[in-house]
Subunit: 324 residues, 3 copies
């Protein structure tokens, strides 16, 4: 398993300890996370107004710098920025043109020379956002929108928001994460966030190749048996199974995965009463969960999307507002 | 020939009978079409002002959801939305990524969870816009920007606008549609619109494989002989020949098509004095019409484009304005 | 060597001699260039404000019409337009779809019918922008953002701005251009601009295949020996080496090029004290110059980018403002 040593110091804080980038939830204080969630809550009703726009970041330029294709995540950040009245520059950089000899940092230096205010970076390599943050210092801010198998902090924050907003206090809930925990940046960030907010028990469940016993070092309880794992769980978090990965590793087929770990009405009954289902999307219906559950009242998957927009507005407002 | 059964009820109206989507011209009342054309007329001079923008839809979010590539149609809708001060999210979804397992409705549900106001949908499958409208109900509106061989209502509306604005009352004009009527969503929608506005005679002309006698069920007069078809015609509507189709079906070559049905100065002389030429674009010069005619005074092809922008503003204002 | 005969008359001026397009620096008067540079200077500090936006072109529509892929140049123009509050329509037209039968002029006529105000055109064919300007007349303006091996006037203007702003009066400086001068639109435009502003000596240096003696007809001093070329030079302008070209022509390898002509700390010492380095980007580190120099105090490469944004705002304001 790869490790993500990011060098010494805390690259997401300035010399005064103020958060000036959002790279990972690791090292955030609970009050910092709660402040972001509270700000997101204040943006939540904006989306139901006719005029879904506030002038908070008018005249700022935000770059969506995506080295990995992700229409969904890009769209959420683009809408979040536009609703704050910022100008957005979309840069989708195909891996092919990366080979043209211009490095990430040269690209960023150019954009910086155009006086952009901040970057939303998605990159296939773990550590890319940290590298960028160290390079930028306080010249501009960066939000990590997913870097390799390392971190995806805004996804985890919206998940925390959803649990807190629709389920209850995180320090009173048992959470089970199902699937490929080993390779998932979503799982990694979520586990960190749950820990910081005092979640009393974080469980993981999946095939041994994807949830090996060594994961205990993340502070989780590792299960390979579904019945034991589900008992008393309040929040079921199903990770997306990467079909691509299936082909190259000795894993169960998607059918086999669904049979052993997929969420079904029967399996849900083993969890605590009122247990809810979260998924980072896009889901594979019939693999991570049945279509019936996906469209049922226990699934908070679309609430997550709504919260994701408000949460990203909060993150942008927090980082960009600082320079105003 | 495929049929487009869209289920029972009228999916483009709400329970009170109000138009809340624009999927097809089928079933529209003449006054509804005329109201849209009148609204478009009121937007027409905006384009010649220095500041081509009104704040009607400020703070609304409109998604250009294009499953078929069409830079032209996407651009027109994007400009129409921006001139109404809406925010536009462009989503070009390649057919390749459709296979990643996320369905149209899952994609839309996600965008809906981001509280977007409406969708402009282009899709290669007939019925896609109807499916979406039934799914959305009154949560958001959808404009059909072309679904398979089914319908393309905004194209037909701009054609009606052009005839009414530059030629005269539709109930006094004879219209001839030339080309692949059988497979054309443009032709289908135009025929419906002309009928609703009382066009006294709608003729179609083309090779027997593309205008079979059964087309009379659409309420048109079917011609395979060009001289008879052209006599007394006020409006010549040349459909775009799809070169791609040529390769797979037993059709005449493009040269042969031009020789038999292409608009030429000689052929135009057979029509009524002052007859005009329309084309939905992009045209194949030397196929559907000669380059000389395309650039001549009888061609209203660029007027159609100008009118298309005003018309699309009218449609967006009508649908989006309703929720304000 | 190709020639770029653009026909008679001056297509970038109207009948009154006013500049209504920007196609090339050829034929511009020194006062016209200086006015553009002065306007750019007035925009320079806008980028360091929190609200980087002025309403000068509010309600105007500008089309980024790119037939050649160039994320960097497209982004600069997009940001320049947005900071002037214009609406921007990005049209990236892949060479593949060019074959669909719609010509550049048909595409432009369509956009013109949508009442757009101006075009930023990048095209692989020399003369494309001239063709477009002749077609448009005063209906809309066009900025040439690079046409084949012909011209790239905004790049040259930002280079002139950088020299004037950070080095000193152009009529007192010796400039050396290094690399593939023969095929470079950047070099061609820069040489014209330097001549117009009275640069006392313009030198070029590179392999004989790329800087043949015939280049003297451009009014430059041709060198193949680096020591003689560098002596007394104030401004070192390194052109980007096109790796693609390397494969098809009998040129030295990139390593060989760097060994003979690449800028190194040793070579720089041969130039005048305080000599600076410019490069149009994106640079190939270790080819045109060492990484050490690229990041050192003599390199003005990122200043060029900052100036490029202000300069493009000045060009857009000049051309678009005229119709207001």
């Amino acid at each position: 398993m790869k490790t993500w040593r990011m060098g010494s110091g805390d690259p997401q804080r300035n010399a005064q300890g103020r958060l000036c980038h959002l790279l990972t939830l690791e090292g955030l204080r609970d009050v910092e996370i709660i402040e972001l969630l509270d700000t997101a809550a204040s943006f939540l009703d904006l989306g139901s107004r006719t005029v879904k726009k506030i002038p908070l970041l008018r005249g700022r330029t935000i770059v969506n710098l995506f080295y990995e294709n992700s229409t969904r995540t890009r769209s959420t950040f683009e809408l979040a920025a536009k609703r704050l009245s910022a100008d957005v520059l979309n840069m989708a950089i195909a891996s092919s043109s990366v080979n043209k000899g211009e490095t990430l940092l040269d690209t960023v230096d150019n954009l910086l020379a155009m006086q952009v205010d901040g970057f939303i970076l998605r990159h296939s390599e773990a550590g890319a956002a940290h590298l960028l943050a160290r390079h930028l210092g306080e010249q501009a801010w960066v939000v990590n929108a997913g870097d390799g198998q390392h971190a995806h902090p805004t996804q985890a924050l919206l998940d925390l928001f959803t649990i807190r907003h629709l389920v209850g206090p995180i320090h009173e809930r048992v959470v089970l994460i199902l699937g490929d925990v080993l390779h998932s940046r979503v799982a990694r960030s979520l586990i960190q966030g749950l820990s910081i907010l005092g979640c009393p028990q974080i469980r993981v469940l999946g095939p041994r190749t994807l949830v090996p016993p060594e994961l205990v070092h993340l502070g989780v309880h590792v299960f390979q048996d579904d019945r034991a794992a589900l008992e008393g769980v309040d929040v079921l978090y199903a990770l997306r199974m990467q079909k691509e990965r299936m082909d190259v590793q000795p894993l169960p087929s998607l059918e086999e995965y669904h049979r052993r770990f997929g969420l079904t009405p029967e399996r849900i009954r083993l969890a605590a009463p009122g247990a809810v289902i979260l998924h980072p999307g896009p889901m594979n219906r019939g693999v991570e969960l049945t279509s019936e559950l996906a469209d049922g009242p226990q699934a908070l998957i679309l609430d997550q999307v709504t919260h994701g927009l408000a949460l990203r507005m909060a993150v942008l407002a927090r980082l960009a507002g600082g320079s105003g």
